[in-house]
Structures are given as structure tokens and as C-alpha cells.
């Protein structure tokens, strides 16, 4: 899949490309802490572990996984902060 625009409604982009696990997850957690409920965060990660770790964390933390998409050389994981 080639590069596409980040999902509509995204309020913040966390570009963690080049950061290794657990860097992207930690960056998302920081963004979640700083965001308000309802805000949508897109994480870009080139680490292959993120597409597994981040959805698991999102489920445990009770937030909502909006989208998980393969982009050009990285994954985009979109998360809505629900509470």
C-alpha cells in the first residue's frame, strides 16, 4: 500500500518512525496522557512490533483502535482516547 493521508479527524500525529520498541508505544502513552477524551492520535511506527503491542495496549487501557494501516515503509496506528 502506498502513502495515503492520515485518517480524517486525527487531532495529533506522533511520528515515532526510526524509534524502536517500546519507543512508539511510550510516545503514544505520552500523547494519551496529554490529550482530552475524544481526541484521535495517529502513531507512525517503522518498528514491526508496534502493530502488535499498540493494539494490545489500547485494548487493555480501554481506548479505541480506529485504524491500523500499512503505509510506505511504516505502520500508521490511529487511536481514539475514550476516557
Amino acid at each position: 500500500m502506498t502513502d495515503t493521508l492520515t485518517a480524517p479527524g486525527t487531532t495529533r500525529v506522533v511520528d515515532a518512525r526510526g524509534s524502536f520498541c517500546p519507543g512508539p508505544l511510550m510516545e503514544l502513552i505520552r500523547a494519551i496522557r496529554e490529550s482530552a477524551p475524544g481526541q484521535v492520535i495517529a502513531v507512525y511506527s517503522s518498528d514491526s512490533g508496534s502493530k502488535i503491542d499498540i493494539p494490545k495496549w489500547v485494548e487493555k487501557a480501554g481506548h479505541r483502535l480506529v485504524e491500523l494501516a500499512r503505509r510506505d515503509g511504516y505502520d500508521e496506528i490511529v487511536v481514539e482516547k475514550t476516557h
Partner: protein
């Protein structure tokens, strides 16, 4: 004249200064180069020893020596707190108003702990990231007669990533020796989805946690402490009650680096090139050790292996020659011992491309760590290993 200014007299700063002297003797003698270390206290602290104050009978006095005695006599030492770096003027300013000029700047400013960032941390939680706190933890362990011990991490990144697991293993062994194990529960909270950030280490540590009966809680990012109910709460919505709470405090880079525009808030970690160790693409500014934003262990070992890279790059620039690629690129090398308890340890050795494959824990690696701790003063800061 080339003025080399090194901020920080820890492992990275001290070793870089001493290595530079070895490579620049002629230029120093001719007065073409000056090397200055600025350190806040003038005391060099061996921080890996803190854990042994809590767990191994180490004394705080044994972990500090005057920085002056560790530096080559040709290195100037200024004791003072840095307030600001002015990149346009190539100066740094100290809190007392003193200004120092530089042509090359080495930022070996380490990390700082912020227990106060979490409410009730100071009254409810113990840690081992300072000599005083480690001694308090020792007293709390001595007074412990059974109950729930919770060990967790209140913010990443933090210094010496294996340390919380090591403490869990060592406490478990101690409780067995004191015949308190059957009266105690041990809980280990990891912020990520496994026991340790590096997968191969996690694969080694997880069965040991199981064997020792230490309950692993994954995705537990410490958010708050309810002091009244004596529970620690996670961002993920879990709660764990405790009788003894041991938390790694949140860590940050130095405030003056953020104030000077060198490191972004809120973390304060310097944006550092993983190979050249240059900061934000600046030709003459380098970072090493805890201060960087590299995805590596914040540990003395990292600084130890980064110092020769910074040295080679500065020396090559001063001598007007090409950088030796064998010595001038950092490949991510880190090496550290890992305590398992019961007098056993293992070794973590890795770089950017090669994850660690820890050998089966044995007494040799535990003894290796003890010998390294004792001989540190004569080896690492002086560039002998």
C-alpha cells in the same frame, strides 16, 4: 586555539576528557587546545552502586570520589551549575555568572529523577536511584516481616533498565533466606507488554519470574498512588495494593538543555545522531550517556562505549583529517551485568544490530559485576578498559 568544553563529570564526561588528553598531548603542550570539564558538585558518583546500598551492604561513602582525582592533570575542572548554553556566542553561563567559551561542546549531563512528579511518591514509595533513597529502602526491607511488595516503573526512559528486575530477583532471594517468602507476595509491573524492553532478555527473565513466584503485570504504567488505601494505580485502570512499594521514579534530561533550545520539552533528551553522536546536526556539539534520546540503555556502559567516538570526531576535526570510520561511528554497543539472585548473574551485551543473548546465569557473572564495581575507579574513568 580549540577550546573543548565538557558538561558533566560522570562516566561519559570524565572518560571523554581523559581520552582527549591521550590523543591531543602535542596540541595541549603547545597550548593549541584546552579541555575543561564543568561539574555541578565536583564529586564523581558511581551510580550502579546505589542498588547495592539497598541490596548488598554497600556504603554511600564508597561510591563517591573527587572528580579532580579522576581527571588527567591537564584537564581543567570547574565546579558549578550550568544555567544556559548560548549557541550564537558559543558560550555557557553558570548560575554564579561565570561564562566559558567553547569551540567543541560535549553534553554529558546525564538524567535527573523526579519522584515529586507523582503525588505521594515521597511518603509512600521507595526507590534506589540515590544513595539516601537506597538506604531508606534497606531500612524498610529490614523492617519488613511479610506482606505484598510491589515493584514498578513510573516513567520511561529510566536509568539502568535491568535494575527493577534485578531488585525483584534479589529481594525474592533475600526473603527466602530470611524465611519470609511464604508470608510474602511479590508483584513486578512492566509498562510494556512483556517483562523487559529487549525481547531476548524478556525471554530469559520471564521463566525466572515464574520460577521465583513473582507475579508479572504487563502494560502497567504507574499513574498515581492512593496513599489512604495504599494502592498504586496504572494509566490502564488497574490497581495493586501494597505493603511495600518500590518504584523507579520518572526521569528527565536537564532543564537548562530545554531552556537553551537544545532538547525538546517535556523530556529534555538531546536529539542525537545514533552514529556520530552529534546533537541536532550540529558539527561541534556532541552528546553521550543518559542525556541523549537514543533508544538505548541509559547506563554508564553506554557512555563508556560512546566516549571514544566523541573523542575520535573531535580529534579528527582538530587535526584536520578524515574521521577513522572504525572509531568514529557508534554502533550502539552496550554491555552490562544482570543480577539474578542467589549469587548468580548473567551478561547483556548488544548493539544496534545484534540483540543480547544472555548466557545461562551463573556465579561467574555475579562475581564479574562485583569485581567491576570495586575496580571501576581505576579502570573506566581513566580509559584503561
Amino acid at each position: 586555539m580549540n577550546r573543548i568544553l565538557i558538561l558533566g563529570g560522570g562516566v561519559g564526561g570524565t572518560l571523554t576528557a581523559n581520552l582527549l588528553v591521550k590523543k591531543l598531548r602535542r596540541q595541549l603542550k603547545a597550548g593549541d587546545v584546552t579541555i575543561t570539564v564543568v561539574d555541578q558538585t565536583g564529586l564523581h558518583t558511581y551510580q550502579p552502586g546505589f542498588m547495592y546500598i539497598a541490596m548488598g551492604g554497600e556504603r554511600a561513602e564508597s561510591l563517591q570520589r573527587p572528580e579532580r582525582g579522576l581527571l588527567d592533570s591537564q584537564v581543567n575542572l570547574v565546579v558549578g551549575e550550568v544555567a544556559k548554553v548560548d549557541e550564537a556566542l558559543r558560550t555557557i553561563e553558570l548560575r554564579d555568572g561565570m561564562r566559558l567559551e567553547y569551540d567543541f561542546l560535549v553534553l554529558a549531563t546525564g538524567s535527573r529523577i523526579l519522584p515529586e512528579a507523582i503525588e505521594h511518591f515521597d511518603t509512600e514509595a521507595h526507590h534506589f536511584y540515590s544513595a539516601e533513597a537506597a538506604l531508606e529502602l534497606r531500612k524498610a526491607l529490614d523492617a519488613f516481616r511479610g506482606g505484598r511488595i510491589v515493584i514498578g516503573i513510573a516513567g520511561m526512559p529510566y536509568k539502568c533498565p535491568p535494575a527493577p528486575l534485578e531488585v525483584a530477583f534479589l529481594i525474592e532471594a533475600e526473603l527466602r533466606q530470611r524465611r519470609l517468602r511464604t508470608k510474602s507476595e511479590l508483584h513486578f509491573c512492566s509498562p510494556i507488554g512483556r517483562a523487559f524492553t529487549i525481547e531476548t532478555v524478556s525471554e530469559m527473565a520471564t521463566p525466572i519470574l515464574e520460577r521465583k513466584g513473582i507475579e508479572l503485570h504487563t502494560f502497567f504504567n504507574v499513574e498515581s498512588i492512593d496513599a489512604e488505601r495504599r494502592v498504586v494505580q496504572s494509566l490502564e485502570g488497574e490497581e495493586l495494593p501494597y505493603d511495600l512499594l518500590i518504584l523507579v521514579p520518572p526521569h528527565k534530561g536537564q532543564q537548562f538543555l530545554m531552556d537553551s533550545g537544545l532538547a525538546p520539552a517535556p523530556g529534555g533528551w538531546l536529539p542525537t545522531d545514533r552514529a556520530t553522536l552529534q546533537v541536532g546536526g550540529r558539527r561541534n556539539v556532541f552528546a553521550l550517556g543518559d542525556a541523549t534520546d537514543l533508544p538505548l540503555s541509559k547506563a554508564g556502559s553506554t557512555a563508556h562505549f560512546e566516549a571514544p567516538v566523541v573523542t575520535e570526531r573531535i580529534v579528527a576535526a582538530i587535526e584536520g583529517r578524515a574521521i577513522d570510520p572504525q572509531r568514529g561511528d557508534y554502533l550502539g554497543k552496550v554491555m552490562c551485568f544482570f543480577e539474578i539472585g542467589d549469587g548468580k548473574g548473567t551478561l547483556l551485551q548488544f548493539d544496534y544490530e545484534h540483540p543480547p543473548h544472555p548466557p545461562k546465569p551463573n556465579q561467574l557473572w555475579h562475581l564479574g559485576k562485583i569485581v567491576f564495581n570495586k575496580t571501576y575507579w581505576h579502570t573506566v574513568p581513566k580509559g584503561r578498559v
